[in-house]
């Protein structure tokens, strides 16, 4: 191929596709060499490529917004600490600084500068992964400051000119309950960036690109323009909304005002609750990540996610508010509120853009952390994620038990039971948990869990929506509240670490998503289908949808329905 002097749309499309293939390779290598189900089965990671100025150009299709968009902004902190001209081939940087990356100590971000054959810096590869453990109190919301939450690794060199920083590895290993998988995953993060870098250099050689910047500029400016065009279509004005979370010590208010002027947006979280004394605080970088994610879903899902698509959007929150927590506020469970942000934004936009949003859903993923002693006295710990229902769409039902806005995956019960002394008694859809509507919200699930090795165990709850259900839109009704109950009948709170005797079981009822449009508009036959499948009860069909179903035949009683719906 001839030397690319000007990037015409066709050449650009070709280069762009290739770059996506390169970052997908990076992510695939990460997942394939990972030592934890968090990364490998759940995909709690991000992977992307940056130009030498630190602009994110492309990201892998795998991953979760809290990592992807936080990684996009974090690179600038790395470059402030280690300016590009101080880096050399074989250097690898790492941090888990919550303020500068994805908001809690459990995420390691690894950045690798890539140099061409003649020693020229051409770009960076970065990835962020959730670590199985980082010491401290473990994954939970009980800490009163970040110092209690585990080992803090500031932006540091993990490798220096190809030499491993052994002291740092030793330090991390010594501070984790499960050093092997944690260290193993850091190695996987390094390997992934290497793999990405190798393919990037091949790509640049093949297309005779000496630098990435012209390509980056073109992609980023086109993405920025497309984002601006999408924003411009929204009428000028202020769009506001408030949503509530259970919080920890008190309910938390998340207030948002989206100021739309011309082709730019300012998203202001002023009016939200102040910092909490417990680990549910969110750093601005993470607030930014889920804010920009939600806007992109609603306004321009097809526009590539990169530096350009962030530019027309400004995200602000008052310092020391719960969405702009400052060091040393505890932040471990920051995803709980982070996952509420898209719902707040969609709600603000729902009136102007009803056809582009989904109703509120379960919001945060349910991070399940169990730990305890083994027969030999050593500790075991295991983490997985479970999900409630998504909100209904303006064109169709919500999706049951599926992560949104997080992009993670669940872990098979068979894998969990094979790797940890855990027994899962059930994992099934929660009848009537989907918010009624013309389009029904997705159902949450009921999951019953216990431990099998005869030792007491510890359970860390990082849940929500036991008090504030997922709202429906445009006349749709809310989804079911969450419910957490022990086998002795105790109903427990949605957050905090608890010790249980060996034979205790815990039953988790995950929340459902809200409905869209009035349930009175739902086709009675669709209601009957849900009743046949046990997703909606005969009672709820009558009381909430106004559809009378014969309990024997499970068919619609048309006359009685017409009368009831009058």
């Amino acid at each position: 191929m001839s030397k690319t002097t000007k990037l015409d749309p066709i050449t650009l499309e070709i280069l762009w596709n290739r770059l996506i293939a390169v970052v997908n390779e990076q992510a695939a290598a990460l997942m394939r060499t990972s030592f934890t189900t968090i990364v490998r089965e759940s995909g709690d990671l991000s992977a992307g490529v940056f130009d030498t100025r630190g602009n994110m150009i492309a990201q892998a299709v795998t991953g979760t917004p809290g990592h992807i968009n936080a990684m996009a902004t974090c690179i600038h902190y790395f470059l402030a600490e280690y300016p590009a001209d101080t880096l050399q081939p074989g250097d690898v940087l790492i941090t888990n600084d919550p303020q500068k990356t994805s908001g809690h100590l459990h995420d390691f971000t690894v950045i690798t500068p890539i140099f061409s054959g003649d020693g020229l810096l051409v770009g960076f590869f970065g990835n962020t992964c959730h670590a199985l453990d980082i010491g401290g109190r473990g994954m939970g919301t009980d800490a009163r400051s970040v110092y209690e939450e585990g080992l803090f690794v500031p932006i540091t060199r993990l490798y220096m000119a190809g030499e491993e920083n052994r002291e740092l590895f030793k330090l991390i290993a010594a501070n984790c309950r499960a050093p092997e998988p944690v260290i193993g995953d850091i190695h996987a993060q390094v390997v992934a960036n290497d793999v990405g870098g190798q393919y990037l250099l091949q790509f640049m050689e093949e297309f005779e690109l000496e630098t990435l910047e012209p390509l980056a500029d073109e992609i980023i400016s086109r993405s920025e323009n497309a984002m601006r065009e999408a924003i411009a279509k929204l009428p000028d004005g202020d769009y506001s909304n408030e949503v509530f979370s259970d919080g920890y010590e008190a309910p938390v208010k998340l207030a948002v005002t989206i100021r739309k002027r011309g082709d730019e947006l300012e998203v202001d979280w002023a009016g939200s609750s102040p910092e909490s004394g417990y680990g549910i605080n969110v750093v601005l970088n993470y607030t930014h990540a889920y804010t920009t994610y939600a806007l992109k879903c609603a306004l321009a899902p097809e526009v590539p996610n990169n530096e350009g698509s962030f530019r027309p959007v400004r995200v602000v929150a008052p310092e020391r508010s719960i969405l702009n927590a400052q060091h040393p506020a505890p932040v471990c469970g920051r995803h709980i509120l982070g996952h509420f942000l898209p719902g707040a934004i969609f709600g603000a936009l729902a009136e102007a853009l009803p056809e582009r949003v989904l109703a509120e859903g379960a919001a945060n993923i349910w991070s399940m952390q169990l730990s305890g002693k083994q027969d030999d006295g050593s500790l075991w710990t295991y983490v997985w994620f479970s999900t409630g229902g998504t909100g209904a769409r303006p064109t169709t039902d919500g999706i049951s038990s599926t992560a949104f806005p997080s992009g993670i995956s669940g872990v098979p019960a068979e894998v969990i039971e094979s790797l940890a002394p855990i027994h899962i008694f059930k994992r099934e859809y929660r009848t009537d948990s989907g918010g009624p509507g013309k389009f029904r919200g997705g159902l949450g699930q009921t999951m019953d869990v216990g431990v099998t090795n005869g030792h007491p165990w510890t359970f860390s709850a990082l849940f929500d929506r036991t008090r504030y259900p997922a709202a429906g839109y445009a006349g749709g009704e809310p989804g079911a509240l969450a419910h957490i109950e022990l086998s002795d009948g105790t109903v427990i709170d949605q957050k905090g670490m608890r010790e249980f005797p060996p034979d205790m079981r815990i039953s988790l009822g995950l929340p459902g998503g809200g409905g869209f449009f009035s349930p009175a508009e739902r086709d009675p036959e669709a209601v009957a289908e849900d009743v046949v499948d046990g997703l909606v009860s005969v009672e709820a069909a009558r009381d909430r949808y106004g559809v009378v179903i014969d309990p024997k035949t499970l068919e619609v009683d048309t006359d009685a329905t017409a009368k009831l719906r009058e």
């Binding site: 749309p9 066709i10 499309e13 070709i14 596709n17 290739r18 293939a21 997908n24 390779e25 695939a28 290598a29 997942m31 394939r32 060499t33 934890t36 490998r40 089965e41 995909g43 991953g63 992807i68 193993g184 190695h187 390997v191 290497d194 793999v195 393919y199 086109r222 323009n225 497309a226 065009e229 879903c297 609603a298 899902p301 097809e302 996610n305 949003v357 479970s386 999900t387 769409r393 064109t395 169709t396 999706i399 038990s401 599926t402 992560a403 949104f404 995956s409 669940g410 098979p412 068979e414 894998v415 039971e417 094979s418 027994h423 059930k426 099934e428 859809y429 019953d448 099998t452 046990g534």
Partner: protein, 698 residues
């Protein structure tokens, strides 16, 4: 095996049913193409078989083997035409098959659709039973519970049942017990057990596979019975054999029990044929490239064999997106399929960039040039405008193409938006689709740790030869091979497939803790099952090949890699060798390994195969070649040459008249009935002894 000399391959495609007969004694092929009879596919097969038998002056009893591949399984799953089916599963887990991995496969598209399970929730029934992760039975199956479920199913007229209980991959006892009870009290029901269909950990994928299997079983059963009847009517006594997705062939009996293993039967045959050509040509590494109307498939052939994967997704419901289909865990020839074909639609996206596919105009309305009401320009339209296709010689001239409407559509839908002319736009479409396919092929190669630049491209399918040279240049491939007989390539695959079957057992744990005796027992058990099937098919023991594979990983990892265990059965004595093989494979894939970390086994596989039959490919073309290259030229045509950014008149050759040893320089067009090979640079084109086109840089 008998001494009867005749083998017959049968391929049922969307439009044509191909029948290929090979007579080993007289060393000749007989080919027949008949129109497919979609409602009753066996009818066309009967006609085709009758035609080749009579043309070859054979009787049915001369036939030693009939090998058949079918798209029926895939189609039944895509079109949801299987039997009313129920699931019996462990209490508390009936939604596993719908919850899947609780994951959205597209991060930003909030309107995505999830695949509907084959069995709705109402018919996902639960049993009070439980096995633990280590195989211990915690609660036995109560026959009365099963009987109660049977009553319920009978009342609803459901007679296909998948049984998939938690941890049955580890200990199938409870599942087998349910199977026995069903066989006893409900013999009329078709039953599949997950522990025999896909005995692998991860309940979503295992249940999904089991349901897909039993869902299509009654349909396949009936179809294969009819097909056997049709063949018997032709006097054929030999047993019908069926192509597996893994490239092996199996008996009808096996196909009836495990129809899900036929899911990629057709494409597998194409890849297998490519590997046979490669072997014949002394090229052990090839990139098989099959481009049709809707999709393109790429498959790497290494050391003469395609790679086998155990993950596949059928019936993607949302823009061909990975994750929008039903997962099936069966051995499938590893290939990548993307929405890039002749019918792929070109459009401009929100960034003002040119996109091609994955949406396809299909065959109705089809590309604009078909003149059947299509208004969105496609790849075929672009190819026509560039002169690569002849408007008067499409499908051998049986269909005239509309050039002016095509030009207008490309101008209007693409060129105007980009501010370029129609020809530039057409070239853009051609180039972007080539790039998309090359990217897919490259990702596919590097995912397996291979360098795509090392592989000659072996091109077939209706649009394959049109685009192969362009794709090969992007990949920096050494050459392109366009086989003679591309039109019946799948049947060639059928005739050259060995009888082969895969078995898998889960015995997971650290190599430190493996019960080597138990492992030996499992491996022997798999070998015995394979030996039985092969010897029933008449293959002598000394010709059977046993390949043993372990799926291993470092303890704590979740992704296992397949490691060929070499000639020895795994045992405590071969452990060091197993570790060394793992280390070598890991390094090949990821550049560095982590010696010292404990290694964990997940699954153990045995592939049992018979000898691969020989197919003299040089006999496929029977048309007498012309005396010289000049005489093989049938005319000239103006085609677009990218280096000149314009059109030039180039020679058009009649593929059937090009003989071995001839060579000429591009640019040139080489036409045959079902496809056209395009060489738009000054490449060298040579005809090899099998009369394949070999295109390389001059």
């Amino acid at each position: 095996m008998s001494n009867r000399p005749v083998r017959v391959g049968v391929d049922i495609g969307g439009t044509f049913t191909d029948v290929l007969l090979f007579d080993a004694d007289q060393r000749r092929f007989v080919i027949d193409k008949v129109l497919t009879t979609p409602d009753e596919p066996s009818l066309a097969v009967g006609d085709g078989v009758e035609a080749v038998l009579s043309a070859g002056e054979h009787e049915g009893r001369d036939v030693d083997r009939v090998i058949h591949g079918t798209t029926l399984v895939t189609n039944a799953l895509i079109e949801r035409r299987g039997s009313p089916t129920a699931l019996i599963t462990t209490r508390g887990f009936r939604d596993a098959v719908q919850m899947g991995r609780e994951h959205r496969y597209d991060l930003y598209d909030i309107f995505l659709e999830m695949p509907e399970p084959l069995v709705r929730r109402r018919w996902r029934l639960e049993l009070d039973e439980r096995t633990a992760a280590d195989g211990t039975v915690l609660k036995n199956v109560d026959p009365d519970d099963v009987a109660a479920l049977v009553e319920e199913l009978r009342g609803a007229g459901i007679d296909a049942v998948g049984v998939a209980l938690l941890h049955s991959y580890r200990n199938p006892e409870n599942e087998q017990r349910v199977g026995e009870i069903l066989a006893e009290i409900a013999p009329e029901m078709t039953v599949s057990l997950s522990s025999s269909v896909a005995p692998e950990i991860r309940e979503y994928e295992r249940v999904s596979t089991t349901l897909a299997n039993v869902y299509v079983r009654p349909v396949i059963d009936r179809y294969l019975a009819l097909l056997s009847d049709v063949l018997r009517e032709q006097g054929i006594e030999a047993e019908l054999l069926i192509m597996l997705s893994s490239g092996g062939i199996c008996t009808v009996e096996t196909a009836r029990s495990y129809p899900i293993r036929l899911v990629e039967s057709g494409p597998a045959a194409g890849a297998l044929a490519a590997s046979r050509y490669g072997n014949e040509l002394g090229l052990s590494d090839l990139l098989s490239f099959d481009m049709g109307g809707t999709t393109a498939k790429a498959c790497l052939i290494d050391n003469g064999e395609p790679t086998i994967s155990t993950e596949f997704e059928v019936s993607r419901v949302y823009r061909f997106k990975k994750g929008s289909g039903l997962p099936v865990k069966v051995p499938v020839i590893e290939m990548i399929e993307i929405g890039a074909g002749g019918g792929s639609i070109a459009s401009i996206d929100s960034l003002g960039l040119l996109k091609v596919g994955p949406q396809s105009a299909g065959s109705d309305p089809g590309p604009v040039c078909y003149g059947r009401g299509g208004i969105q320009p496609t790849v075929t339209d672009a190819d026509l405008l560039l002169g690569y296709l002849d408007p008067d010689f499409f499908l051998g001239g049986s269909m005239a193409l509309d050039l002016s409407q095509t030009r207008q559509a490309i101008q209007h839908e693409v060129a105007d938006h980009l501010g370029i002319d129609a020809i530039e736009a057409a070239w853009g479409i051609h180039k972007v689709v080539n790039e998309n396919m090359a990217n897919a092929a490259r990702v596919h190669a590097v995912e397996q740790g291979k360098d795509p630049r090392a592989y000659p491209v072996f091109a077939f399918g209706g649009a394959g030869p049109v685009h192969a040279w362009g794709v090969a240049q992007i990949l920096n491939a050494p050459e392109v091979i366009v086989p003679i007989g591309a039109g019946v390539l799948s049947t060639v695959g059928f005739l050259s497939a060995p009888l082969a079957f895969d078995f898998v057992r889960s015995l997971n744990g650290l190599l430190d803790d493996i019960d080597w005796q138990e492992l030996q027992r499992l491996v022997l058990e798999m070998e015995d099952e394979g030996r039985q099937i092969l010897s029933d098919a008449g293959i002598p023991e000394d010709q059977m090949i046993f390949t043993r594979v372990a799926e291993l990983r470092y303890a704590g990892q979740g992704h296992e890699i397949s490691v060929d265990l070499g000639p020895d059965r795994p045992s405590r004595e071969t452990r060091a060798d197993i570790e060394a093989r793992f280390d070598a494979e890991y390094r090949r894939l990821f550049q560095r390994s982590a010696p010292g970390n404990p290694i964990e086994a997940v699954n153990w596989r045995v592939l049992v195969s018979g000898p691969a039959p020989t197919v003299p490919l040089e006999l496929l073309s029977t048309v007498e070649p012309a005396a010289s290259v000049e005489q093989a030229q049938k005319g000239t045509r103006e085609i677009y040459l990218p280096q000149e950014k314009g059109f030039r008149e180039v020679p058009v050759f009649d593929r059937y008249r090009l003989g071995p040893g001839m060579s000429f320089a591009g640019p040139a067009i080489i036409e045959e009935r079902e496809s056209t090979a395009v060489v738009n640079t000054e490449a060298l084109i040579e005809i090899d002894r099998l009369r394949n086109l070999r295109i390389s840089d001059n």
